[in-house]
Symmetry: C5
Subunit: 374 residues, 5 copies
């Protein structure tokens, strides 16, 4: 195949789009893995459950998957790692996925979206994690393929995000085993959205830290942190907005109703409320940060005023005094003329000059008091 | 049950979301109390009334509640305190509430919303209080369950918000006892929205105080207060916007019409106008505060100019004078050469130098006058 | 009646809402007068007209009003002063107004709105006046009740706003006597909107004054005026926006068509265009003011630069000179060593030092010229 | 007639609304000329054309006009100058125009709008000209009355705007003579919109000039020009927005279809695209100007930093040196005590002090180098 | 032909509109080439393909084109260079294009748009290139005419944008030869949108460079670059927004369905997602740049504070010291009076003065420490 090698972009664009390169110059429908290779090995987990039980198997041959699909109950296949495109293509053939879907699954620079196909729903969302060490938010793409009786999920790497749900499936607690693939998809989406709150909490702590520093009188480093936080919020916002649209379309479009049970709609509405809450919180954070920068700028101005006041007070008091002292330091010869600095020979000359200086200081202080600088 | 203990978040996120933790990692539909435990004991008040009379009983066994529900008239059950989840669950079973509703009632981090169930309407709103001591706005969640002939309300703690309405019910004044549960729900919502105006009034007073300080020339503390006010308004706005949506949906959605009498719609429209007025007032306040910050920054700049002008005038006048005095303070030996500072021996030397200095001052003053600095 | 006394709020909130207190804690539908008592006495004017003639009577007994209502032609009852609630209630009973309407008429903190009742349209608008002495805009509430063959208007006090229209009714000029109550309502609304232009003209003059001052180099007072103008515009905007909605609903809602003749719709469209023009003018003014503040800040910065340049030039020229003079003012004893300031005894010492100083000045001036500071 | 004399407003409001006074206090439907009297005489041009020929006559008696209207072909009557209201009223009666239309034609403070009457379409637009001498944009109102077979246009004064189209009509080139009044109206509107691009080009040149000045380091005059440009753009934007609405309504409202041929719709869509392009260009210009102001402010700050650095470097170097020189200029008597400034009598005293001074300078320079100020 | 020569505008407007002049004063439907003449010769490439093969011929006589149009398969005619209007007119006649379409093809200042004609779809889009040397984005207009079985594309000059697609057509790889002209149009549009990502990547790199410089403490040049980037983004945004509308209309308007196969709609939806992603990225970049300017301004303020602190500390320490030295440099005659500077003759006079000076320095340092300036 002579398709040109997609160049691996570095830098800002890839951060904005997700974390990986966009393929360019390839014919549409060509599935190649685009993105950082985060996992060493592709790990496929197959979980099959109904109200009575739950069978888990790791990485079976994919032919089995297909056969499993015909048995009753719900089939959940989770794929961690997207770089072995052939395996995803095989899986795609098993479940008769459209080539565009397979391509989208492998391309980790997608915007969150919902595509309705004849046989299944295709959903992409971004999950966000906060890296403490780099103070930055990192997104990961998760694809859902929801069909009749089965759910496929594709993650870039193994993550503990869905561990709770697996545990619940195995233990059989709660409603989850009694309901179908649509409810499972909802629980997984709910876990993704819930994770946003964890990120928001961490960002909230950072913002509070920055707020304290700004109020105490911030230095360069604080402005730096403020800048980074703003940047993270801009990127976070870019990732959550389309998620809201997706959930909204799930709720309101007729053509998605085929795969979503009416009883699940109630839960989806709840999910929608949560995404709205995430968005509003991000916007609130942005407003707060904008306010902090204003406070920072105004406190810089204020401190400048304070510094200048001190300088001005000292300078304005001592410059005239120094001038007076300078005058009487001139070497005019008193002997050459009676007009040449006769003060130098007066009996009270020196004390009078000191008095004059004290008078100047007093006048200045009164002036400053009037101006309310003291 | 092995569900992980929800961690209690501290800080900004919990302030933004309400005042308490979000549960994470729990299966949907699990009712646990999330939020600060504000009340010591759960207090359940049952009021049953019709046009003829009104019976109040505090904390009856819940079985009685259910039976009361079948008698004619309207039943209002108010629950203060949400931490005894079992009692709320029992109540939920009595009135056949959906598990999601019971969960939402207990979770005090909800966004205001309206859920339409088959048998009842579920409404969450936030009531706001202004704490004078901390200059901050605190939200409290109030849930309404409006069914045929009954209304359940759930508050985080006892509050005097509904006292007036209880008094009116008991005294039988006005229309209230002649109308059903929908009208009662409206009066309670109206009390909640009315309380926003009290908060706005207090914030308005604060803003006026800050305005006076800014105009008089604000210090650090004023900027601090300005910052806090802005923050409170951001949070307040986040809580009132969804309330408007809720009232709007109550008014315009067909599926809520079953529980709302057409004659009550007129009152709801009034309520809607009030929430719009609250929102507009919050926005107006924000505009005013933004204007105040601009004024503050510009007055800081202006004062800086004034300070610098004084410094410059003094410096520019005295620095050349000091230089002249310095020149004649040099010790060149007039005896070594006739060119060495002959001025020192002139008859009119000293007066001439003083004249020169006066000339310099005059020139500078004229210069400043031209520049309009004086 | 034991309803709690509504507290009279002072300050910002009441300015934002109109000019008076909101009642709180009262059962809905209780008509009490809320707002400043602007008129001493309530004055009721009854005008009855048709194409043939026009009968005016001041303050008849209200029973007569009702009977008049049955005669042919159009009946216009204008009430100036809202503090005698009983009289308005009597009037309300005459014309079978809903209790909510009577309540709204008396409460002068309404937002402009349109309520459609079975028998009449209820309309509230705000008229604005500009007080020259306080440089502030003051709103007044005007209520319209438009029914079949009659129009009731309620103002807070007597005002010359409708005098022209009364004169036109009496003189019989123009179309007005040939048309019904809807056309009358339109002419009155048109007078209210037209008055906004008077206010805008006065504000426009203020803005131009401020603009001149800002361009000439503004002082503290100018910023103050700019701030007040901005505030007035924010409040004015808050009052005109809902007016537009009201006129728009009058035009487009089917349920208002019953009281509005199709031929009047054309005029209403004109009125709508005028309200849009008012809004756009307010927005344009706000943009202009925002621009002025930017210009002001940038000119403050610019003047600061100018001041600093002067200070720096003077300081940078004279500080080295003063240093040189200071060096030769040192008292090292030339007799103790030949290295101790031999310059003092040179023949050309003093002229050389003066030359050195001139050289320093020249170098500095060239430097400043390169930096384009001179 | 006792209608009050409309006051002639001066200043900002009339600039914002167009260039003339709003009438106030007049009954609706009263046609009086409002606006500056721009033309000395009213000039009426009648052009009658069909595919075969074109007859032009200047200022015929209006009775002829009416008769002409009944002949086949298209009749275009253009009126330059609006102050002879009676002539316009006569014309209005000829073509059976609604009184409101005649009133609107004469009132030059209209917002661009489209009114659909039973027998004709009434359209008002604003044409804009750029006055080079005053660097300001001036609007002129043009009214169109489009009926079956005729088009009336009303301008405030003679202008070369339509000269090209008249020439084309006379020469018979192109499609214009083969089509009806609707196509003529389109060509005229197109000429108006095209003229906006001329204005935008001139403004674009001004902006580029300002940009160069800002980048080179702007003075007061540049900020002034920037301010004026912003103001012109705000006013221009206010005039073009409603024009877009008008063209949009022409395109999409059913009730305008009667006068517009479907084949002309295609051209109107083109016209619509042009108005959108004008709006987007104005918005782009505003963004660019906002950017320029930011750059200007930041470069002012930057230059301030540079100035302060120079001052600080000079001051920080010479102030300590001057102090040292000052110390050795003290007159303590070395004979009174061996502790009184023995340095003055040292053999290497003076060279050592000079060395000390050089050391101080070196230390300061190293410090500045570390701070990256040099 | 006596049409006036269109003037060639220079400067900002032509950059904003595309890169060329708008024609003015011409009758609509007159096709003249407007824009820079970018190509020397017009090059016409004809590609005819179906699933079995692909025939390419460069620049055949246009009569052949027309005949080719009747053969089965898909015909793609690409025109590079628009200045030979007659050739485009001939082509237009061949394919029966409306005169307006031919005019629009030649005018390179179009906004992206979609026109639906009876026999074909007409689409204009802007392709963007980033010129490294000038750091600026340059747009090029590409027109598409999509009819039954044929696609015409018009570019301003030869570009490698479609080379890949031509190669794919020739090699027969992928779906492209199996599908019709609509799919071809999609692939070409996709190439155009994909190229935006290349531009965004380059801009992203520039922004990251600027960010580093700003964080390190930016100079004049950085602000300049920031300004240019902002300008480019404003222009880029102006070009991508209408593209989104065009793709959206292709997807959702019924009247375009005739030329678009339902199976292609899926790909168009993908294309739409990409344009949205481009827009969001541009907006994100703008937010980031706005943030950078804020950081730059705040760091300028911060550095100013630092500079002023150093100046103030030095000045405040040495100015009083210099004053003290000045006092003892006065020449009062100790012999004239015992009050005249007796300190000069004290035994410990000089050491005491030095001690006094040290005390002043210590006091100042303590003061600065308290103020946290050190």
């Amino acid at each position: 195949m002579d398709t040109p090698e997609p160049t691996e972009p570095t830098g800002l664009l890839s951060r904005v789009l997700g974390d990986s390169a966009r393929k360019r110059g390839l014919p549409p429908g060509t599935a190649i893995h685009i993105g950082e290779r985060k996992a060493d090995e592709v790990k496929i987990t197959v979980i099959q459950y109904d109200a009575d039980g739950c069978r888990t198997s790791e990485d079976p041959t994919l032919e089995t998957c297909a056969r499993d699909g015909e048995t009753p109950g719900t089939l959940w296949i989770n794929v961690d790692g997207l770089h072995q495109v052939e395996r995803i293509e095989t899986l795609g053939r098993c479940f008769q996925l459209h080539p565009l879907t397979v391509e989208d699954v492998c391309n980790t620079t997608q915007r969150a979206k919902l595509d309705v196909f004849d046989d299944y729903l295709y959903l992409v969302v971004k999950s966000q994690h906060y890296r403490l060490e780099s103070h930055s938010v990192e997104g990961e793409q998760i694809s859902f393929v929801l069909g009749k009786g089965f759910l496929l999920t594709f993650q870039e790497q193994e993550s503990p995000l869905f561990d709770d749900i697996r545990r619940r499936l195995r233990s059989g607690k709660g409603r989850i085993r009694h309901r179908g693939a649509d409810y499972l998809a909802y629980t997984l989406l709910d876990a993704v959205v819930d994770h946003y709150f964890t990120v928001l909490e961490q960002l909230g702590e950072e913002i509070e830290g920055v707020e304290e520093e700004v109020v105490a009188g911030a230095g360069r480093a604080t402005v730096q942190r403020l800048h980074l936080l703003r940047r993270e919020l801009i990127l976070l916002r870019k990732s959550i907005w389309p998620l809201r649209e997706v959930v909204n379309r799930l709720l309101h479009q007729d053509d998605s109703l085929e795969w979503i049970d009416p009883s699940t709609t109630l839960y989806l509405r709840d999910l929608y409320d949560h995404t709205v809450q995430v968005i509003e919180t991000v916007e609130t954070y942005r407003d707060l940060l904008a306010g902090l920068l204003d406070i920072h700028l105004s406190s810089l101005s204020y401190r400048m005023n304070e510094i200048m006041k001190v300088l001005t007070i000292i300078a304005v008091i001592f410059i005239p005094l120094t001038f007076i002292a300078g005058v009487y330091g001139m070497n005019f010869d008193p002997e050459a003329s009676p007009w040449n600095m006769p003060e130098l020979n007066w009996y009270w000359g020196y004390p009078l000059v000191l008095l004059l200086m004290a008078g100047v200081v007093a006048a200045m202080l009164i002036y400053f008091r009037c101006k309310r600088w003291l």
